[in-house]
Amino acid sequence: MAHATTDTALAGSYGAAAAAAAKTPGYWGGVWRKLRRDPVTVVCMAVVLLIVLAAIFAPFVAPNDPYATSMTRRLKPIGTDGHLLGTDELGRDMLSRLIYGGRISLFTGLTPVFLATLIGGGLGLLAGYFGGLVNTAVMRTMDVFYAFPSVLLAVAISGALGAGLLNVLIALTVVFIPPICRIAESVTTQIRTEDYVDAARATGASTPRIIGTHILPNVLGPVFIYASSLISVSIVVASGLAFLGLGVSPPQADWGLMLNTLRQAIYIAPVNAVVPGVMIFITSMCFNMMSDGLRSAMDVKD
């Protein structure tokens, strides 16, 4: 065996070649940098930010009282003096109602996804890490929910629980838990077999520490990407439930509910009737494209 090379020969090899890559930002720093360079994502972020800010500061931003009805000013077209986006079937200012409606619509869009990410992600992580019976118990339970189409399930649950905002949140959370759980489980199961997890186990570190350092950060990415794509679904389904009368009740402003009440006027003032739908479309599209941007920013190695 002629292993004559001494390992000190290596000392020279790391001298000059690698000096360039001295400072490297953290992984998430890199993701953020790539997101900022993606024009589509930046535009979507700006639009979402605008809608969110408008919703938060609705009392200051909205030009009119969203609940003030007027029998004489019903279904005014877009561009009417004092009503930039026209008025609805009760003469209320559309723009003001859309701004106020963002509060409920965004809330019902984001909250279930957030809760489902916590619960479903946590369950999937545990199922994936511990495998065996834990996995079987968790995943077979999820399969039961999976058997139904998600919209149908949401309608069924809110129907059973009764109308109301809280019940919509519960219904949507229950609907989103299984798919998020499944993603978290499959990613965890795969990472669980990586040698670095075995190496960590071989140090005798505690299970929570191993999960926190080596599993969670690697599972979070794919789960985030998936969850962010659910936000648009959540907004649309929540609006749909409101449209069906299962969500918030009139006279509250909600994009889905507005779509519902305006549908009677679809032949008289089609443009007005469509405006809340456009709002839902724009918002969910923005979240969808931000999710795509996040996916590609996190995808690339280096």
Binding site: M1, H3, A4, T5, T6, D7, T8, A9, L10, A11, Y14, A18, A19, A21, A22, K23, T24, Y27, T136, R140, E194, D195, Y196, D198, A199, A200, R201, A202, T203, G204, A205, S206, R209, T213, H214, P217, N218, K301, D302
Partner: protein
């Protein structure tokens, strides 16, 4: 040239923990078994098992290197993972420096893990892609209560010891390193736990020949510096010969031969060892072809042959080989070398069995 000054500051890992004295083997493994169930499912009993490790026994003396060789799939990695209890053994006992490992007296698995570390073949999969390498190295000590700052400083020192300039490499991510550099990091990570025994599972097998030589030299130097004991697993007979003091040959989950490296390589006794050694490319034509080379694949470990598992590929197979499994026994003329073969044992009923 880059580490001698730092070497003195790290404590040499021995003395106080050396409970059994120099004559006590550091590791004694007795009848280790792991059968993986396959084809089973929820609420259904698995119809069959892979006999990945099926009654392996050996010991490793302090400060020595035991090489483990065998074809792919013979159970080398499973053995390594059983030793570190990354997978629980189905049967068998492990005695570390005189202390049996297990719940009944002796030392716990946690105690064992503090003294035994592992280096894996796949240098990339062995490192968390989201963690700067210094944090990968510092993870173990931190988990055992070393303050972050101290653990990081130690990790940087170790990087220097394995030949990576910490100022350049500490904050890098695994994908920014070459395979050889990553394997150095993995070695540093193992050393961070101040182990007494390091199990190296194909640790250099994925490296280029020149890098492999450098890492082997590094391993030899670290072994001296930290009074380490190695279990070195590889399918590469040349590398095993270079680094090992003793060599264990595995076939289908069993030990077929074990002996001192020079004896075993110059006078292999088991037909499988002979075939393995003769099939490797040799520079010296005179030493080639001691035995016919191996043909075909090893049989399926789910359903191994009866009796001696090698008999289906063995030129010396006789009816006794199918009837009874040979025991691992010392050769009559060479007590340091043990072999499991009816043709070599005394009074086995094989036509080649030596007279008593």
């Amino acid at each position: 040239m880059h580490d001698t000054s730092q070497a003195a500051t790290l404590p040499i890992a021995d003395d106080t923990r050396d409970r059994g004295g120099p004559m006590q083997p550091l590791l004694i493994v007795e009848d280790l078994k792991k059968h993986f169930p396959i084809g089973g499912g929820f609420l259904r009993k698995a119809p069959s098992v892979v006999r990945a490790v099926d009654g392996v026994s050996f010991h490793v003396d302090k400060g020595r290197t035991l090489g483990i060789v065998g074809e792919s799939g013979c159970g080398k990695s499973t053995t390594a993972r059983l030793l570190t209890h990354l997978i629980p053994p189905d049967a068998g006992s492990i005695v570390f420096d005189g202390d049996p490992v297990g719940p009944y007296g002796g030392i716990t698995v946690a105690d064992l893990r503090k003294q035994m570390q592992m280096v894996f073949q796949d240098s990339y999969s062995s490192l968390n892609p989201r963690l700067p390498i210094v944090d990968s190295i510092a993870f173990g000590p931190k988990a055992h209560g070393t303050p972050t700052r101290k653990a990081r400083a130690d990790a940087e020192e170790l990087l220097g010891l394995v030949g990576l300039n910490p100022r350049q490499f500490a904050r890098r991510y695994p994908h920014q390193l070459s395979g050889g550099q990553r394997q150095r990091v993995n070695i540093a990570r193992a050393l961070a736990m101040k182990p007494r025994l390091v199990v190296l599972d194909e640790a250099v097998s994925a490296l280029d020949k020149s890098v492999e030589a450098q890492v082997l030299n590094l391993l030899a130097r670290l072994k001296e510096q930290f009074s380490l004991t190695y279990i070195f697993i590889s399918h590469d007979l040349n590398v095993v010969q270079y680094i090992s003091d003793r060599v264990l040959v595995m076939y289908l989950g069993e030990v077929v031969e074990i002996g001192d490296v020079d004896d075993l390589y110059s006078a292999p006794s088991h037909p499988y060892t002979q075939a393995l050694l003769s099939s490797r490319p040799s520079m010296d034509p005179a030493r080639r072809r001691i035995a016919p080379p191996l043909t075909g694949d090893p049989p399926n470990p789910v359903n191994p042959p009866s009796g001696c598992r090698f008999r289906t590929r063995c030129p010396l197979a006789e009816p006794i080989c199918a009837a009874r499994a040979p025991e691992l026994a010392a050769l009559p003329d060479r007590p340091g070398q043990s072999v499991a073969c009816h043709a070599r044992g005394v009074g086995t009923g094989h036509s080649l069995s030596p007279a008593a």
